[in-house]
C-alpha cells in the first residue's frame, strides 16, 4: 500500500545520517568558536535543521494520500496501524523519522502477515530510537566485559558508567503492540525480553557504537546479552538477533495478541465499546489465518455490527480533516496548511505524545473547546472553498441517506455557500462516522 501521491520522500537512513552530519558539523563549529552552547542545544538545533524539512514533507504527503487515494479503506488501515505502533515526533530524535515508520514498515505489510508487520516495526530505527533500545546493553555482553576489565583499578572518582538494559521497548511491545496489558506477562518476562533484544540498535555510531549502515537497523552483537533465556515459560536458545525474532514470531501467534488486536480494530472501526461478538469473530479470523491480515479485515467488514446504524463514532480531528478533504475533493498543497490545521484541532501529526498512540474513544475528543476549534476550522474551510461548491450536492455525496432533513434545510437557508459548507461539516451526521 504505497502512498497515493508520488512524493519524493527521503528514506529513514538518509534522514538519520543527515542528523548525525548536522550534529557533528555543529559540534565542530561550537568547538571552534568556543561558545557557551550546550550539547543539548547543539543537538536541538541539529534536529531542527536536519529533520524539519522531512517532517513537513511526510505530513503533507500523508494528507495528500488520504485526500486522493482510490483505496480509502487501506489508507485508514495504514493510519490504524500507525497509531497502534505509535512513535511520537515530540521526541527530538524521532521528529524527522516518524513518517518513515509508517511509510517503510507499515505500508508494505498492511495487507500482509502480522508477524512481518510487527518485525518490521520493531526493527525500524524510529521505533528503536523512540523507545531507547539502541543503547540497551546486556550486563554479561562483550562490551560490558571489556569495559569492566579496562576500568579495573582505575578509580577516577566519577560514578562509573553502568551497563544494563533499558526495558522500555520490551515492555511496550508486550503491553501495546502484542499481548495487551492483561496479556498474562510478568515483570520477569519484561526484563527477560529486554535482555533478549539487547543489541537491537541503529548503525552508524562512534567508538563502542561503531558499525553498521548509518540510520539502518543494526544488530550489535557486542551489546547482546548472550545465552538462552526464558520468556513466558519457554526457553529460547537461538543466538543473537534471531532470539528476539523468535519471540516476536511466538507473540504474533498468541491468542492474547489476536484478542488484543481484534479489540482495537473493532473499537476503531465499529464502536467505542467493542461488541464482544465482533471481537470474537475478528480474533478467531486472526488465529485461523495465522495472523494473515486480509482475512482479519474481511471478518471485520463482514461483522453485522459494522453495519449497525446506531454504532457510530465521533470523528477524531484526523478523521474530520481527511473526510473533509475527500468530501470537498481537495488536496492540500503546502505543509503549513496541514500543520496549522492539526495544531488548531489538537492532533499534531505523528505526535500522540506517548507510545500508546492517540486515544480512540469519543470521550477523549469531545470537549466543548475542541468543538469550538472545529467550528472555527470549518468556517475557514467554507470561506476558502465556497466557490465551485454546491452544498446540497456535497451533502448528497458525503452523507447520502444519513443527511437529516433539518441539515438539508439549514444548508438551503444558509447566508452563503461558505456558511453552508461550514454547517454541513459541523452537522452531527458529518461529525460522526
Amino acid at each position: 500500500m504505497p502512498l497515493a501521491v508520488n512524493s519524493p520522500l527521503a528514506p529513514s537512513d538518509q534522514i538519520f545520517a543527515g542528523l548525525i552530519a548536522a550534529r557533528d558539523e555543529r559540534q565542530k563549529l561550537k568547538q571552534a568558536s568556543a561558545t557557551e552552547s550546550t550539547d543539548a542545544k547543539v543537538l536541538f538545533n541539529a534536529v531542527r535543521e536536519a529533520y524539519q524539512p522531512h517532517y513537513r514533507a511526510q505530513v503533507l504527503a500523508r494528507a495528500q494520500s488520504a485526500a486522493l487515494t482510490s483505496r480509502p479503506f487501506a489508507e485508514r488501515l495504514v493510519h490504524f496501524w500507525s497509531n497502534h505502533f505509535a512513535v511520537s515526533a515530540d521526541k527530538g530524535v524521532v521528529y524527522g523519522l516518524a513518517g518513515t515508520l509508517e511509510n517503510e514498515a507499515i505500508r508494505p505489510h498492511v495487507a500482509g502477515r502480522f508477524v512481518d508487520l510487527l518485525t518490521a516495526v520493531e526493527q525500524h530505527p524510529a521505533m528503536i530510537a523512540f523507545l531507547d533500545n539502541q543503547y540497551s546493553v546486556g550486563k554479561d555482553s562483550m562490551a560490558a566485559a571489556r569495559f569492566a576489565s579496562r576500568s579495573r583499578g582505575a578509580d577516577t572518582g566519577q560514578p562509573k558508567r553502568q551497563f544494563g538494559i533499558n526495558e522500555n521497548l520490551a515492555r511496550e511491545i508486550l503491553e501495546l503492540h502484542t499481548l495487551g496489558v492483561n496479556g498474562g506477562y510478568s515483570q520477569a518476562d519484561v526484563t527477560s525480553f529486554a535482555q533478549i533484544i539487547t543489541g537491537w540498535s541503529i548503525g552508524g555510531g562512534k567508538g563502542r557504537l561503531a558499525g553498521g549502515v548509518p540510520g539502518r537497523f543494526y544488530f550489535r552483537d557486542n551489546l547482546h546479552e548472550p545465552g538462552p533465556k526464558v520468556f513466558l515459560g519457554k526457553t529460547y536458545t537461538e543466538q543473537g538477533q534471531r532470539q528476539g525474532e523468535a519471540v516476536l514470531a511466538d507473540l504474533a501467534r498468541r491468542p492474547e495478541t489476536a484478542n488484543f488486536i481484534a479489540t482495537k480494530l473493532v473499537r476503531h472501526f465499529i464502536a467505542d465499546d467493542p461488541p464482544p461478538a465482533a471481537v470474537d469473530r475478528v480474533a478467531r479470523a486472526f488465529l485461523k489465518s495465522g495472523g494473515d491480515l486480509p482475512p482479519v479485515y474481511a471478518a471485520l467488514i463482514e461483522s453485522p455490527e459494522s453495519w449497525d446504524a446506531n454504532a457510530r463514532k465521533f470523528k477524531t480531528p484526523e478523521d474530520f480533516v481527511f473526510s473533509t478533504l475527500r468530501a470537498l475533493n481537495v488536496s492540500p498543497a503546502q505543509p503549513e496548511e496541514v500543520i496549522r490545521t492539526f495544531d488548531l484541532l489538537g492532533q499534531r501529526q505523528y505526535t500522540p505524545g506517548s507510545p500508546a498512540g492517540w486515544p480512540d474513544t469519543s470521550k477523549s475528543w469531545d470537549g466543548s473547546d475542541a468543538l469550538m476549534h472545529r467550528v472555527l476550522w470549518a468556517s475557514r474551510v467554507g470561506a476558502k472553498y465556497e466557490s465551485g461548491v454546491e452544498p446540497s450536492d456535497l451533502a448528497a455525496a458525503s452523507l447520502g441517506a444519513y443527511a437529516r432533513p433539518e441539515t438539508l434545510t439549514a444548508l438551503r437557508r444558509a447566508a452563503s455557500s461558505g456558511q453552508a459548507v461550514a454547517l454541513l461539516l459541523m452537522s452531527p451526521e458529518f461529525q460522526r462516522r
Binding site: A40, D90, L131, D132, Y135, S136, V137, K139, P159, Q162, F163, G164, I165, N166, E167, N168, R171, E175, V181, Q187, V190, D343, L344, L345, G346, R348, T351, G353, S354, A356, K363, S364, W365, D366, G367, S368, D369, A370, L371, M372, H373, V375, L376, S379, R404, E406, T407, A410, A414, A415, Q419, A422, L423, M426, S427, P428, Q431
Partner: protein, 412 residues
C-alpha cells in the same frame, strides 16, 4: 501514619513533620457555616511517571547515591546540590519556586506515595490515578467529577464549576457533573451567525447541543477575564504543545473571572525519562524548571485567590531506584507528590520512608510505597473542598477504607 512505637531499627523510617499533625487540635469544619464556593483547587497531572527520587532527592538515605548514581542530586550546600527540606530530603535544584513556598509554609511534600496501582503500565497507572478505583477499568468517570457532584452548593456559582485546561476533558474530570474545557489556543472570530445556526441545527441532538452551549459560555467567561489580551498573546506563543506556563495562566485567568470555575485540571507530559535523564542539569531538570515556573505563573495569576488555593501535583507512579543501562530510569512504583498553595498548611515532608536498601525495595527495584495517594486526595476534598466524608468513602473513592484521609493538610 504509623507512630514511632511501630518503628524498628532494621527498617529505616523517617516520619518528618507529621508529629505536629497528630497533636494539633483542629477545629471541626462543621463549626463554620460553610456556604461553599470560596476554595480553589488545581490538580496538575504529570503524565509519563515523574522520577520522585530526582524531584525529591532523599540525599540523607545511605543507599541513594549508589543507586541513582549520575542521576542523583547531591546534598544541599555544594554546587548543584539539593534545596534542603530537612536532614533527609531536599528538592531538585530546578524547583526554586516550590522551595520558596516550602519555606513560606505553603508546600507539603509527600514521598514514598503511590496510587493503589502496582503494575507498571503508564496507561493503566493513569487510569487508576484518575478513576479513583483500585483497578484500571470499571468506571468511565473520574474521581474529581464524582467529587464535583458532591460539592457544597456555592453561592452565586455558575453550573460550570470545573474546567480542564485542554481541548478535551481528561478522565479525572469526566462524568455526569458538567465540566468545561478550554485550551490556551484562542478561537477568535467565530462568526456569531454561524454559531446561532449551529445551535438551531443541534436542537435535536442533545450531545452536540450541550457541547456548543458550554463552549459559548466558556467563551463569555474568557472575554470577561481580567487580562484576556495578555492571555491570548501568551497562548499564541505557547499554545501547543501544552506548555505548563500557558496552561497555568489560562487556568488562573478563568478561575479569577466572574463566576469562574473553582476547580481546574492541568496536564503536563514528558516525564518518561528512560534515557539520558540528567541530574541537576539535563532533560528532566529542564522539565522540572518548566513545571516550577508554571506553578509560579499559576500563583501569580491567581493573585488574590492564592490564599484560598490548593494545588495538587501528582503522577501515575515513580521510577526505578537504580539507574538503568541508558542513563535513565524505568517504570517503578513509589514516588512523590506535592500540595502547594496559600490554603495549604505547608512546611512539612510527609514520608514514612521505607529506605532504599536493597532489601527494602519493592520487587528488588522500586521505592516501596507507604502512603496511598487517595489518603491525600480525600484529605484535600474533605478539608479544602468540604465534600462530606461519607460521600468520599462511598462514591468518590469506593474500596478505599484502607486509605484513611490524612489530617491537617489545609489551614483551618
Amino acid at each position: 501514619m504509623p507512630r514511632s512505637s511501630q518503628m524498628n531499627s532494621s527498617r529505616r523510617r523517617f516520619l518528618i513533620g507529621a508529629g505536629a499533625l497528630a497533636t494539633t487540635a483542629t477545629i471541626p469544619n462543621a463549626l463554620f457555616a460553610y456556604t461553599g464556593g470560596s476554595s480553589r483547587l488545581v490538580v496538575v497531572i504529570l503524565r509519563g511517571a515523574l522520577d520522585g527520587l530526582a524531584a525529591v532527592p532523599p540525599y540523607g538515605d545511605p543507599d541513594y547515591a549508589s543507586l541513582h548514581r549520575e542521576l542523583a542530586i547531591a546534598a544541599p550546600g555544594g554546587p548543584d546540590g539539593a534545596l534542603a527540606l530537612n536532614n533527609t530530603f531536599g528538592l531538585h535544584p530546578a524547583l526554586s519556586f516550590l522551595h520558596e513556598r516550602f519555606a513560606a509554609g505553603e508546600l507539603v511534600v509527600f514521598d514514598a506515595v503511590a496510587s493503589p496501582y502496582r503494575d507498571r503500565s503508564h496507561f493503566d497507572g493513569q487510569n487508576v490515578l484518575e478513576n479513583g478505583l483500585t483497578k484500571p477499568i470499571g468506571t468511565a468517570d473520574g474521581w474529581l467529577n464524582r467529587a464535583l457532584a458532591a460539592l457544597p452548593r456555592g453561592s452565586g456559582r455558575s453550573s460550570d464549576r470545573a474546567v480542564a485546561i485542554s481541548q478535551n476533558v481528561p478522565l479525572i474530570l469526566r462524568g455526569e457533573a458538567p465540566v468545561i474545557s478550554k485550551s490556551p489556543q484562542a478561537t477568535p472570530d467565530v462568526d456569531e451567525d454561524l454559531l446561532a445556526r449551529l445551535a438551531d441545527l443541534y436542537s435535536k441532538d442533545d450531545w452536540f447541543s450541550a457541547r456548543l452551549s458550554e463552549a459559548q459560555q466558556t467563551e463569555k467567561m474568557v472575554d470577561g477575564a481580567a487580562d484576556s489580551n495578555a492571555m491570548s498573546k501568551e497562548a499564541a506563543k505557547a499554545a501547543y504543545p501544552n506548555r505548563v506556563g500557558a496552561v497555568a495562566r489560562m487556568a488562573s485567568e478563568l478561575m479569577r473571572s466572574d463566576g469562574g470555575p473553582e476547580i481546574a485540571v492541568i496536564e503536563a507530559s514528558g516525564w518518561d525519562t528512560h534515557a539520558n535523564q540528567g541530574g541537576a542539569k539535563g532533560t528532566l531538570a529542564t522539565r522540572l524548571a518548566g513545571l516550577d515556573q508554571g506553578l509560579k505563573s499559576l500563583a501569580d495569576g491567581l493573585g488574590p485567590l492564592w490564599p484560598q488555593t490548593a494545588v495538587l501535583v501528582v503522577t501515575e507512579f515513580g521510577r526505578t531506584a537504580a539507574v538503568n543501562g541508558t542513563r535513565g530510569t524505568d517504570h517503578g512504583t513509589g514516588g512523590c507528590a506535592f500540595l502547594v498553595g496559600g490554603a495549604v498548611r505547608g512546611g512539612q515532608v510527609i514520608a514514612d520512608w521505607p529506605g532504599l536498601h536493597r532489601t527494602a525495595l519493592l520487587d528488588n527495584r522500586d521505592l516501596k510505597p507507604t502512603l496511598d495517594l487517595r489518603s491525600v486526595f480525600k484529605a484535600v476534598l474533605d478539608e479544602h473542598m468540604h465534600v462530606d466524608a461519607n460521600t468520599l468513602a462511598k462514591r468518590v473513592f469506593p474500596d478505599s477504607s484502607g486509605a484513611r484521609p490524612l489530617q491537617g493538610l489545609i489551614r483551618a
